[in-house]
Symmetry: C2
């Protein structure tokens, strides 16, 4: 069965897109069929996976609003087993357009459900969310089985976490009973930095097993890889960042393989 996982946190620059790209590619390498939906009008995930702006004839805007056949909005990437629904700036008007719709929280869910009917089968669907608790992100939470929350190991990052948790609880009560937290992922961790260690300690003591064992170190190689349209596994496979994202993929896969 398809697992739909949102990668979301309204705090900006915490590693949502970096996690989406490198987790999706790690799972695709393990033979899982993966679809990445870029729900951010900035289109960083699309660019990071090599989708040139001029090739994005159809986008996640068309995917949500059913403006064409679903299959037309999906393109292959250079990675076998990984497809993408790229985004364009058309998506910036999605919030306002969703606002007046009857099923404004369910548009994305309906499109993802239609994948199955269209014989487009994936083991995992990842949704890279924009840095905001807007209708697009709420659509992602309603459409997902679970959510991965990247938590940057910096002071400001902890501040928004409680608002996000409240939003998840609200969505679980109102529109998606089965939404659960896949995990909180400590990112840009720097062992030399006191705040970094403090954020991880705080997270583990308050949130316990919700926090992934795997943490992602701060590593320049991770920020270089997208400029070559490569995943970290392609760009610098045995770097600390590459090893961490593959470890994360196993940590998630173990949960599903055993269940």
């Amino acid at each position: 069965d398809t697992r739909v996982i949102a990668i979301a946190n309204q705090k900006g620059g915490v590693g949502k897109t970096t996690t989406a790209i490198n987790l999706a590619t790690a799972l695709s390498e393990l033979g899982k069929r993966v679809l990445l939906i870029d729900l951010d009008p900035q289109g960083n995930a699309s660019t990071g996976l090599g989708r040139e702006l001029r090739d994005r004839t159809y986008s996640s805007y068309d995917f949500i609003f059913n403006r064409t056949k679903l299959a037309e909005t999906i393109s292959e990437t250079k990675y076998e087993n990984l497809d993408i629904v790229a985004s364009t700036t058309d998506l910036s008007s999605a919030d306002i357009e969703l606002y007046d719709r009857e099923r404004k929280l369910y548009q994305l869910k309906d499109s993802i459900s239609a994948l199955r009917r269209a014989e487009l089968h994936y083991d995992f669907v990842f949704i890279d969310c924009p840095p905001s608790l807007n209708l697009l992100t709420l659509n992602a939470l309603v459409a997902s089985n679970s959510i991965v929350v990247p938590l940057q190991s910096e002071f400001f990052a902890l501040e928004g976490l409680s608002q996000l948790m409240q939003t998840i609880t609200m969505i679980r009560k109102s529109s998606n009973k089965s939404l659960r937290i896949e995990g909180i992922l400590v990112t840009m961790f720097d062992a030399r930095n006191r705040i970094s260690r403090q954020v991880e300690d705080d997270a583990r003591s308050h949130l316990g097993s919700l926090v992934f064992e795997t943490r992602i170190p701060r590593s320049v190689r991770l920020s270089e890889a997208p400029s070559f349209s490569q995943s970290i596994h392609d760009y610098d496979r045995y770097s600390k960042g590459g090893q961490a994202y593959r470890k994360l993929a196993w940590e998630i896969l173990r949960r599903y393989e055993t269940s």
Copy 2:
């Protein structure tokens, strides 16, 4: 006369809040009366300047929607000459509430204009924007004389710049003829990092004098200061980050002192 300056970029985590806090405090030290409006529901600028959540009886939500006397929404900070309009998560519903209003783009501008009538005089008003081109940020662009655009020296950061520039042009044509770019500020610059140097070179060659001379180095001290509710000038005055933000304050002040 009051200069209103928005600090905006829809890319997340690029240093908007860090710039808002440290530029506002640098100018207040030079004797300028400064008001910082926190327009981000995460409230990072409010926290970074020591406004405890429980003390935020009124907020920027009340400021925009005139739910109380303006003076009630403004509080002092520990820094002489610097006041703040703090934010709470109430602000996350502002977008939807603005959507149905007649003057949906002018709410903030109207409130800022009302400051003058209420004899609340400031030399500078800074607006810390959320990481999104939503109605809150558009309100800030309509209300401002100019905009400071923090540009993180990382690969993904250049991608959203053209969309932001288009939005500024649109606002200038439709709702705020005098909106100008105060400057593009290179942030988190690391001379050892190839991408960092490349982003700065690209910005200076394409955008020329729109890019501030001053650039902000990557410095851990900048990310530590807010955890002590201090500006960098208070926390570690002679650090690279502290010196850079005071240099930026002078670079901006020189433009106004001579004109």
